[in-house]
């Protein structure tokens, strides 16, 4: 076991996958000599050379499109989109091409490729360096979407994504990069895609989240414990395909569930989680399922007061959790 931050865990996982399999390579803006704007690939260009850690032109659609072609021709690309906010030019390549290759060819083609991108706010990133995109891409059949909350899951899910035969959108919350530190197991440590994990057991209420918000929920659960409320915290880890059994289990066990995310509210991930609960655990509910999410405004403003106002903070989650516990 080694203590690592999220960004260190991502870097080590890429390094290990590239060492293990010569077909794995990284392509993206500034990933080479610069080592990525967040230093996710620091040192890898020197270690593996230009054609394993390739600086792309500033053109997101082709970063993904080139990864698609390389994946067909025997490679396992990791395409980095520098910020999730800039992924939109690649929407056609991701949604119309990558996500449909297997289906549209009757299973003849498949794409072992990963698209990594930093998302989320709370870092003064403003409208175009803070966005969350998981609901948009979670809607797309043919894509898998993961969003780890801690270093061990970040490493384990990245390895699983690289080895997966299908395109995986790997979302890394940029505020967790250096904020969240934890133990990363020695050895392979692959975390299977599609499996949620109970990060804290509890009986009175269930908090369901992923990414940065999962960490906030753990803080809140600690505070609730001091107040005599036993909160279970379920980390979805994979947005799609979602672990419906785990969601239902937490709902059945606690009867009261709060879903938290930073992405916009309307048709967000919480709406899907709540639908799963209604379909699978309605009889066990003791309260309406609640959600605390980012508001339906385009994105997080730069000004710190407005940014703060956008985010579900630990304080707001705690207040909502108390309301649920008291219901």
């Amino acid at each position: 076991m080694a203590s690592r931050t999220v960004i260190e865990a991502i870097r080590e996982a890429m390094d290990q996958e590239m060492a293990r399999d010569p077909s794995v390579f990284l392509i993206g803006e500034d990933v080479g000599q610069r080592g990525g704007v967040f230093l996710a690939s620091d040192g890898l260009h020197k270690k593996y050379g230009e054609y394993r850690v390739l600086d792309s032109p500033l053109a997101e659609s082709s970063i993904v499109g080139i990864a698609i072609g390389a994946a067909v021709n025997g490679m396992r690309p990791i395409a980095e989109i520098q910020f999730a906010d800039f992924i939109a030019p690649a929407f056609n390549q991701i949604v119309e091409e990558a996500a449909r290759f297997c289906y549209r060819s009757g299973g003849d083609f498949n794409l072992p490729m990963v698209i990594r991108t930093p998302y989320g706010g709370g870092v003064h990133g403003a409208l175009y360096h803070s966005q969350s995109i998981e609901a948009t891409y979670g809607h797309i059949p043919g894509l898998k979407v993961v969003a780890p909350s801690n270093p061990a899951d970040a490493a384990g899910l990245l390895k699983a994504a690289v080895r997966d035969p299908d395109p995986v959108l790997y979302l890394e919350h940029k505020r967790t990069y250096r904020l969240i530190r934890g133990e990363v197991p020695d050895g392979d440590g692959v975390v299977p895609i599609g499996k949620a994990e109970v990060k804290r057991e509890g009986n009175d209420i269930g908090l369901i989240a992923y990414g940065l918000m999962l960490n906030y929920c753990l803080e809140v659960a600690e505070k609730l414990a001091a107040e005599g409320v036993s909160a279970e915290v379920l980390d979805l880890r994979t947005i799609k395909p979602m672990d419906e059994a785990a969601v239902a289990a937490t709902a059945k066990k606690t009867g009261k569930v709060l879903v938290v995310h930073e992405d916009n509210r309307f048709a967000g991930i919480a709406a899907e989680v709540i639908a799963i609960i209604m379909e699978n655990a309605f009889d066990s509910l003791d309260a309406p399922v609640m959600r605390l999410t980012g508001p339906d405004v385009p994105a997080m403003p730069f000004n710190h007061v407005l940014e703060e106002a956008f985010l579900p903070t630990p304080e707001r989650i705690l207040a909502k959790a108390r309301e649920l516990a008291a219901y």
């Binding site: 390579f25 054609y51 394993r52 792309s56 032109p57 053109a59 659609s61 082709s62 993904v64 499109g65 080139i66 990864a67 698609i68 072609g69 390389a70 994946a71 067909v72 021709n73 025997g74 490679m75 690309p77 030019p89 056609n92 390549q93 119309e96 091409e97 449909r100 290759f101 297997c102 289906y103 549209r104 060819s105 009757g106 299973g107 003849d108 083609f109 498949n110 059949p141 043919g142 898998k144 997966d164 035969p165 299908d166 299977p192 895609i193 599609g194 395909p241």
Partner: protein
């Protein structure tokens, strides 16, 4: 990096194909594949107009560019990335009349998609024909990725990607060419310029006469070729393939050609082009022109022509009968292959 233009039938005389390194047999095979592509297409229109199949999208008029370029590539070694008119390309790379008819009738056995995609959306991994989507231009970055993988493994495989002049307006086309130029990728960008993007004529698509001029902006050569002269297309492609294999980078080939049919079975081209224009281009039909050359060069006799016609008719008849009677996909296959590895399963 100035654009070169190859004049029609400029050289070679009666043994042009031999001077290009093609045996009589190879020259006739090219002819037969062009004719097969045309014959399948014509049969599809008949069947569509009889109400037996919902949709056709045609290769007619563009077979010279398609087969001429393909003949310079190595099937099974090189990758081709077709667009939806490229019946001639995929037949050269190993698809059959039956494969095309199975796709036309959207049957379970359709090797391109299992009946999921419209006709013309080719793909076969074992033949190294990339799966095709409908959004135009998106396939060019895929071709750059295929070529990048060859380069990463230090292999000399070549990738050829085909697109229309309409697609050339897409941003992906620029991005792919830019990337190919930077890394000197072994790529042929083959623009089948048929003059129209559905109804929009070239002068409303681009401000320049020759799309090939764009290559200069990406640091590789651009060549204009008569797309209705199959041997000229073969010649420029052969040079471009040799360049690509030597690691010297990409070439943009603009094959000037013409779409002899409407855009698709759902289009009425009388709304945007004159019958006289179509008739004029019919005189330049690449198959007729090539047949004339082959006859004059002594390779194509009446007996050979008759053999070819019989073989093609037999293939198209057999393919049609087989495909029309082949089973549809079962309804419970709807959710198959969303993922290669379906972890819900």
């Amino acid at each position: 990096m100035a654009t070169q233009t190859r004049e029609v039938e400029a050289k070679g005389g009666q043994s042009r194909h031999r001077s290009l390194g093609l045996s009589d047999e190879e020259a006739l095979h090219i002819y037969e594949v062009m004719r097969l592509a045309r014959a399948i297409d014509e049969r599809m229109w008949l069947i569509n107009r009889q109400g037996r199949a919902p949709f056709v999208i045609s290769c007619q008029g563009q077979e010279g560019a398609q087969v001429g370029v393909s003949a310079a590539l190595k099937p099974g070694y090189d990758w081709v990335v077709p667009y939806y008119r490229d019946a001639g390309v995929v037949l050269w790379f190993g698809m059959t009349a039956r494969d095309q008819m199975l796709s036309f009738f959207a049957r379970r056995e359709d090797p391109s998609s299992g009946g999921r995609q419209m006709p013309g959306h080719f793909g076969a991994r074992r033949l190294q024909i990339l799966t095709t989507g409908s959004p135009v231009g998106a396939q060019l970055p895929h071709a750059a990725g295929l070529a990048l993988a060859f380069k990463q493994r230090k292999e000399d495989g070549v990738t050829a990607v085909f697109f229309g002049e309409g697609a050339s307006s897409q941003g992906d086309v620029h991005e792919a060419m830019n990337f190919a130029g930077i890394h000197k990728l072994g790529l042929l960008f083959v623009c089948e310029n048929n003059g129209y993007a559905i109804s929009v004529a070239q002068d409303h698509q681009v401000a320049i006469k020759d799309l090939a001029d764009r290559a200069a902006g990406y640091g590789f050569p651009g060549v204009v070729v008569d797309g209705n002269d199959v041997l000229a297309c073969y010649e420029v492609a052969k040079e471009a393939v040799a360049r690509a294999r030597r690691g010297e980078g990409a070439t943009l080939i603009e094959a000037k050609t013409y779409r002899l049919t409407a855009h698709s079975s759902d289009d009425d081209d009388r709304r945007y082009r004159q019958a006289e224009e179509v008739a004029r281009w019919r005189q330049k039909d690449p198959i007729q022109r090539y047949a004339k050359y082959l006859r004059e060069s002594g390779s194509l006799t009446d007996a050979v022509e008759q053999d070819i016609t019989e073989r093609i008719n037999q293939q198209v008849d057999e393919a049609t009968e087989y495909a029309e009677n082949a089973p549809d996909p079962s309804p419970d296959s709807l959710a198959k292959f969303v993922y290669k590895q379906d972890i819900r399963g």
